[in-house]
Symmetry: C2
Subunit: 146 residues, 2 copies
Amino acid sequence: MTQETTYTIRQITEKTGLSAYTLRYYEDIGLLDPVSRAENGHRRYDEADMRRINMLQKLRLTGMSLDDIRHIIELYRQGSDTASTRRELMEAHREKVQAQINELCEVLEFINYKVALYSEEEKTNDERKRNDHELSPVGQNGSAGL
Amino acid sequence: MTQETTYTIRQITEKTGLSAYTLRYYEDIGLLDPVSRAENGHRRYDEADMRRINMLQKLRLTGMSLDDIRHIIELYRQGSDTASTRRELMEAHREKVQAQINELCEVLEFINYKVALYSEEEKTNDERKRNDHELSPVGQNGSAGL
DNA sequence: GCTTGACTTCGAGTCAACTCTAAGATGTAG
DNA sequence: CTACATCTTAGAGTTGACTCGAAGTCAAGC
């Protein structure tokens, strides 16, 4: 049989950006299946582990809790009878992610507005400085919030 | 002078969805300026407080830490000399938010892929069930990850 | 006058998700 | 053989962001 390529925990930390602590933690709490070992007891991750970790990271990015992720993995382990439940969970999650994206886009607008406001304040401020020795002070920026 | 409209903490919880605990906490750690009080010592939030809270919520949505938000507020309190620093911080944050949006869009793709995969699995599964009494089993879905 | 309800304070408690410590095994380089 | 790096474990500690408990004040209604 062709030997499958495997990775040490260190290699996984480099590939994923997750710490070794976190990788062991994920395994402890059942997000990863027990990772196979070299003769000395060190972990050897395989491609399937890598795919699982990738999936974890994607779902974590969207703010899904480790508990919810574990739930889906649990269902997966129970076989293809759970496919429709998994699909439903994913569809529900898709709505949440879409909502997140929409919110973030709104905040992006807001940030753009703030940047413009601060730029304006900078300009006004510079002007005041230039004229400080002969002209009266200019009013504070009269704008909203912060 | 025209009396400015003010709000009780309860009204603010209703408007913002933040708990009263959280509102007091935000004030304690300096995210809100000390809120003015009624004669009985109860908080009376004004429009400026509302705007600040709105801003806080928007930035929190993007995952900015309370500490970073406080830093910007601190700068704001120091006056318009800090406008350029604030602008730079906001521009840096804008990049992060843009990156977040991009990542979330990628994950959305991934989720769509998973939904399709699970749907496929469902279908195959149903078929297997329908034929269970006379046909041989069908192979597991041979696909990636989870 | 007594109860109810909305608030107040301060300090402590909770939760998720790590993150680290300590002690020990193994492997490689000098 | 010694030194050092890299892993192992179980369990404790940390962080950020709340969240709550206890005790007290105050106004309105019965």
